[in-house]
Symmetry: C2
Subunit: 154 residues, 2 copies
DNA sequence: CGCGGTGGGTTCCCTCAAGGAACTCACCCT
DNA sequence: AGGGTGAGTTCCTTGAGGGAACCCACCGCG
């Protein structure tokens, strides 16, 4: 009996979830994004077991989201960096953090702030239409079948 | 031995992952977003076991993301609708779909297209700074400690 | 009434992934 | 040799998902 194979679903969301559809991978990705890149640093920051961390890092590298890079030759030492694919996946973390800030922070307020380098302000990201520039939240979107949609029978 | 409690982490991403940190909840949310709202419809669309669907729907309702609503009195029949909190969480699905389209579609192209209701065009959502309006992707963000950050020792 | 269909859920058994702890290995320095 | 660091592996247990069977309420029809 196998786990559901999300990679084969005709749905981009499911295919993304195939890469990061459990909590640790996004959190590891977040660590690498903010500069926490070495095995023992990530492990200490997240409090994750070394076994799971090893597996997740390997998985994220295979998925082309992280790349392993040697930072020391003697002794041999590696760290993990974002690929271009991984950097774009971090955009998802931005939105994820925004939702958590808004709905799950409690009285203490958000644990992290996002300063936009371009304008220098503490800000947050909004979804905007690439075509017209107006807000493009989920509620403004009609979801239509695309070229890769499953046949109607599916 | 307990599972890691992501809700208690001083990290908005982890707190969001506490709600949707497995594949089914985001996919159920997607279904409700696009209008697939009834138990048997969701079950058929996702090919998920009734047991897991029952559990996930209950969880999402408890998390305040979905609400159960009666659409028929005799016989009693319910469907699920997005709460305001859930609608904002769907913004995450928009970004998630975008990443999957770009990096995981293959030759067939994206399975779904997003038409922006405001301008009527097939488009996609970009991250923009709420303050200055310029692109605000993950690479343009400095992540700083916020009021709810964990003490330095942690 | 009994039967079949629909909506929705529960239980059981199995498989797979996570968690904690212990163990292992390579390398370096004293 | 011994200790420290980085990184990984193994073992056993627990928790979550998957498939199938079972269950219940309700309705309409013969």
């Amino acid at each position: 009996m196998q786990r559901t194979n999300f990679a084969d679903m005709a749905c981009s969301i499911a295919r993304t979830l195939d890469v990061i559809g459990e909590p640790w991978s996004p959190l590891i990705l977040r660590d690498v994004w903010v500069g926490i890149r070495r095995f023992d640093e990530i492990q200490a920051d997240l409090g994750i077991s070394r076994k799971v961390l090893t597996e997740r890092l390997k998985w994220l590298a295979e998925a082309g989201v992280l790349a392993r890079r040697e930072y020391s030759r003697r002794p041999p030492r590696s760290e993990y960096v974002l690929t271009a694919r991984g950097a774009e996946l971090c955009d998802l973390l931005v939105v994820m953090a925004g939702w958590g800030d808004r709905w799950r922070s409690g009285a203490a307020g958000p644990p992290a702030l996002h300063r936009h380098r371009t304008c220098g302000e503490i800000s947050h990201a909004e979804l905007r239409c690439a075509h017209c520039g107006a807000p493009m939240t989920a509620g403004t979107i009609d979801v239509l079948p695309g070229p890769g949609a499953a046949p109607s029978g599916g």
